[in-house]
């Protein structure tokens, strides 16, 4: 990479910034400017001070949040909480742990990403590789941006309107008078996939766009059709990008509360619906760590701050872990990326 190349950053949503400056990255780094701020005007000195305050306060705030959650979480987190079922008792010593919320989070994340990834990858492939007619491609791009900018609460309400229709009764539970409940893992998972969609789409699209043309041309030159090129050459090359996008999407799904509160029904435990094993869990209701924390906080019903802290700590660990995984994948992908495929690099 040349010295003046701007650092590119794919590892934060909608851009981000890289971590390590390249090792001999230009002589400018080796010698700090000898200018001292005592020569500056007062206004500039104040601005300099404010920049420092802004930067350091970000660190302090993050440390405070993580530190406080860690202190409180460890104070109230007993390992038994992780595998006990919750029960709706007012007495906290009997109200069990949060196994079901953890299962709910995992299940919802899997459903959401499972739905989002194929759709997002397919759409990105179509937009980058085909994209005819071009007004349609632009419309799809804008559409995905609209979804990215839509508040999750609006998506949740839309999901409710959509899935309370008789047509979608198979996705959840139908009450006696014919009213469709509309809330279940399947419906919540469908909406979760919408919020993860823009991330996977963006990551895949950037990955596809960064593959140099000569790889495609080499494949065409060998007589492969476009779809075969996509399947055998391009998709394996963008696997790290897809993984990054998927991990980002999973982080966002795991942390989302509004959709869960509205679309997952409000049962503390995983309540199954119907009797086909597997499908009955999907059609049933439950809770996730996020809705469990919300309900146990003073804003919800439980009034159990200790449980809320413990669950919030677990949630924080999960989300931080996912982001760490994003970092790892991105770094590993950058190293092996194109070189990992059979056609690239050698």
């Amino acid at each position: 990479m040349s010295v003046t190349q701007p650092r590119t950053l794919d590892d934060l949503p909608h851009g981000g910034f890289g971590v390590e400056p390249s090792a001999g990255g230009g002589g400018a780094k080796k010698r700090r400017s000898t200018e001292s701020i005592s020569t500056w005007r007062w206004g500039d000195r104040i601005a300099y001070g404010m920049c420092w305050v802004a930067g350091i306060s970000l660190c302090v705030i993050a440390a405070a949040i993580v530190g406080y959650m860690a202190v409180r979480g460890l104070q109230y987190l007993k390992p038994s909480l992780l595998w006990q079922h919750p029960s709706g008792e007012v007495d906290q010593s009997k109200s069990g742990g949060f196994l079901d919320p953890i299962l709910g989070t995992v299940l919802l994340t899997v459903i959401g990403i499972g739905l989002a990834t194929p759709i997002a990858v397919g759409t990105a492939v179509w937009v980058v590789e085909y994209g005819r007619p071009s007004w349609l491609a632009r419309a799809v791009e804008s559409g995905i941006e609209v979804v990215a900018g839509t508040p999750d609460i609006v998506l949740a309400i839309f999901g409710l309107a959509l899935f309370q229709n008789g047509l979608f009764g198979w996705m959840s539970f139908t009450a006696e008078g014919g009213a469709v409940f509309g809330r279940s893992f399947m419906t919540a998972g469908a909406m979760m996939s919408l919020i993860a969609l823009p991330m996977v789409y963006g990551a895949t699209r950037e990955g596809l766009q960064s593959i140099p043309r000569h790889m495609r041309e080499a494949s065409y030159g060998l007589g492969k059709t476009r779809i075969a090129t996509i399947r055998r050459v391009l998709l394996p090359a963008v696997r790290p990008n897809i993984s990054t996008g998927a991990a980002l999407g999973m982080g966002r799904i795991a942390g989302d509360t509004a959709i869960v509160v509205i679309l997952l029904g409000a049962s503390l435990r995983l309540e199954n619906e119907g009797s086909i094993p597997g499908l009955n869990v999907l059609k049933g209701t439950g809770s996730t760590l996020t809705s469990y924390v919300y309900n146990n906080s003073p804003a919800g019903e439980g009034n159990a701050a200790e449980k809320a802290y413990a669950a919030a700590f677990v949630l924080l660990l999960i989300v931080v872990g996912l982001n760490f995984a994003v970092d790892l994948i991105a770094r590993r992908g950058a190293k092996t990326g194109l070189e990992g495929t059979r056609l690239g690099g050698r």
């Binding site: 009450a175 409000a266 049962s267 086909i276 094993p277 019903e301």
Partner: protein, 271 residues
């Protein structure tokens, strides 16, 4: 293994799994759905659990909340099988529904534990909640100082209806009241604010200090004996007279000893 063999294996497994579920598919347990009052919810949960234990596999329960008015509206529209209501039938209720009384319950006036009040007369309560009296210094027996923070319930609540009817009579509650959506939230608000006063169902007085009403302390004994004045009814509302599985459940709640024993724990049984 060739791909064809692998594919055949997957198909066989899928058919096997589906086949194993066919017998259980034929007999899906009926579900009784309930929604409505947050005051009735703890009692309804206990009753449902006991009933399921007594009749395993015969019926399942789903419980939602939302407030008495939501329960009544839901059952009238057929969205749930039973609506829980903690207020008496109103003339504005939709038609075609039937109220089954299952228990009685006391409403307690509660204050923060740092400000215990032994007794409140009806006049004082009306003055406080209508906004005529705004400061703790004007309330006899109170040790707190400063503005009174009144906490109440939203319009959908049966407890709010009962409070209005029993305690407030014809006076209206001031609009600056903090309206909470459930008993639990009122309990929390009063617990965390030294200057707060509110009203909750008898089951929710943990962590707050109940005040006496017209000279009678608010506890289960006084409620059962009839001395305490602030007692209201709990109803399970059904669409038309309850029949079939729902009818059996409500009959069990109203007349079986076991059910009334459960009611007697925190609420006033029917007899």
């Amino acid at each position: 293994m060739t791909t064809r063999l692998r594919r055949l294996g997957v198909c066989a497994a899928a058919v096997g799994v589906l086949g194993a579920t066919v017998p259980s598919m034929a007999s899906a347990t009926p579900v009784i759905t309930m929604s409505g009052s947050t005051s009735v919810a703890p009692l309804a949960t206990l009753l449902a659990k006991a009933y399921v234990k007594k009749n395993p596999g015969k019926v399942k329960f789903k419980l939602a909340q939302g407030g008495s008015d939501v329960g009544v509206a839901d059952v009238a529209a057929g969205r749930v099988t039973i609506g829980n209501s903690s207020r008496d039938p109103k003339s504005s209720d939709p038609g075609g529904i039937f109220f089954n009384k299952i228990a009685r319950d006391a409403i307690c006036l509660v204050t923060n534990p740092s400000n215990p009040i032994a007794n409140l007369s009806q006049d004082t309560i009306q003055a406080i909640f209508s906004g005529d009296v705004r400061d703790w210094s004007q309330v006899p027996g109170a040790t707190a100082t400063g503005t009174i923070d009144i906490v109440g319930r939203t319009a959908a609540s049966g407890t709010q209806d009962a409070f209005q009817k029993i305690f407030m009579g014809s006076k209206t509650v001031t609009s600056s009241i903090a309206a909470k959506a459930s008993n639990g939230l009122v309990q929390q608000a009063v617990q965390s604010d030294k200057n707060a006063i509110g009203y909750v169902s008898l089951d929710f007085i943990n962590g707050v200090s109940p005040a006496g009403y017209n000279g009678v302390a608010c506890n289960l004994r006084n409620a059962k004996s009839g001395e305490y004045g602030g007692v209201r009814n709990f109803w399970m509302v059904t669409r038309g007279r309850a029949t079939g599985i729902v009818g059996k459940f409500i009959h069990w709640v109203q007349s079986s000893k076991a059910a009334q024993a459960i009611v007697g724990k925190h609420w006033v049984p029917l007899k």
